[in-house]
Amino acid sequence: REALPVVINTWPFRNASAAAWSVLQSGGSVLDAVEEGCARCEIEQCDGSVGYGGSPDETGETTLDAMIMNGDTMEVGAVADLRRIKNAIGVARAVMERTDHTLLVGESASVFAENMGFIAEDLTTNKSVNIFSQWLKGNCQPNYHKNVFPDPSKSCGPYKPRVTLEQRRRQDNMLSHD
C-alpha cells in the first residue's frame, strides 16, 4: 500500500485532481474527495462536457448526470437527466445519504434536490444557446434518430415512424396470398 493515497480522474482536468487530493490531505473521506473533485469540474465546466452550459439537447436544455459510490458499503447515489440544478454530484450524494434509493431521474430528481436545499437555476448559457441555434440552422445535424421520416440525416423533426423494410415485407406477405 506504498502507493496510497491516490486520486485518479479521466481527462486532463488538473484542478479537479488537485481539489480531490487536498481534501484527502486535510483528512477528508474518499467520498468527500470524489464529490469535491467532480464538483470542481461542474463549476469550471471542464471542457464543456461537465456542468451547466454544455451539451444542449434537442430542445436546447442542458441536463446533468452524476453518480457516487462508496466502496466500503457498496452504497450508490445517482441522478440522471437532472434539470435546473448545477451541483449534480452533490445531489447524487444526497440520494445516497438521504434516501434508500440509488438513482433518481428527471424533473422529480430536481424537485428532490430543491427539497434538500439545492438551488434551482437556469443551466443555459450564451454558449449553449449558440450551440443550439447553430444546430437548428444546420438542419439539426447530427441527431440520434433513425427509421423515421422526414429523413433525419437531412432535416429536423418532428419525426414519425417510417415503415421499415421488415414491416413492409411482413405487410406484403400478409397481402400476397391466393
Binding site: L4, P5, S17, G37, V50, S55, E58, D65, Y144
Partner: protein, 140 residues
C-alpha cells in the same frame, strides 16, 4: 465527463462521475455516467474503475464493473482496463471510449480504444509522488 477514483491511506475506495451528457441528445437520453457499473464502480476489497466516452454503447457492457471484478480475480489495473475496452471493441470496433482503473494497493492504469479523434488518452493522478497533479498519457 469526469470520472474519478479516490483511495485513502487506509484503503477506503470511492468513485464518482459527473457529466452534461451528449450534445444534441434526444431529451431524456441518459448515457453511462450515472449508471453504476458502467460510468463507475468501487469496491474497497477489489478496487475501482471509471469510464468515459460513447455512453450509449459503453453502458451496455458495464466496463467499470468488469474491470473491478477482473482486479478482484487478480488482474493488474492495466490488464483489467484493457480487457474492459476489448470486450466492447469486439462488437463496436471504433467506439470512442476510455477507462481508468485502480486496485487496493493504489496501483492504477488506463486504457482506451483507438477511434477517430482518440489515439491517446490523458488522465490525471495525484499521489505522494508529487505535490501537484501528474498528467499521464496512454496510447489507444
Amino acid at each position: 465527463t469526469i470520472g474519478m477514483i479516490a483511495i485513502d491511506q487506509d484503503g477506503h475506495v470511492a468513485a464518482g462521475t459527473s457529466t452534461n451528457g451528449l450534445t444534441h441528445k434526444i431529451p431524456g437520453r441518459v448515457g453511462d455516467s450515472p449508471i453504476v457499473g458502467a460510468g463507475a464502480y468501487a469496491d474497497s476489497s477489489a478496487g475501482a474503475a471509471a469510464a468515459t466516452g460513447d455512453g450509449d454503447v459503453m453502458m451496455r457492457f458495464l466496463p467499470s464493473y468488469l474491470a473491478v471484478e477482473l482486479m478482484r480475480a487478480g488482474a493488474d489495473p492495466s490488464a483489467a482496463c484493457k480487457a474492459a475496452i476489448s470486450r466492447i471493441k469486439r462488437h463496436h470496433s471504433e467506439f470512442f471510449g476510455a477507462i481508468i482503473c485502480a486496485n487496493t494497493t493504489g496501483h492504477y492504469a488506463a486504457a482506451c480504444n483507438k477511434a477517430p479523434g482518440l489515439s491517446q488518452f490523458r488522465y490525471m493522478v495525484s499521489n505522494s509522488e508529487s505535490n501537484t497533479p501528474l498528467l499521464k498519457t496512454v496510447d489507444c
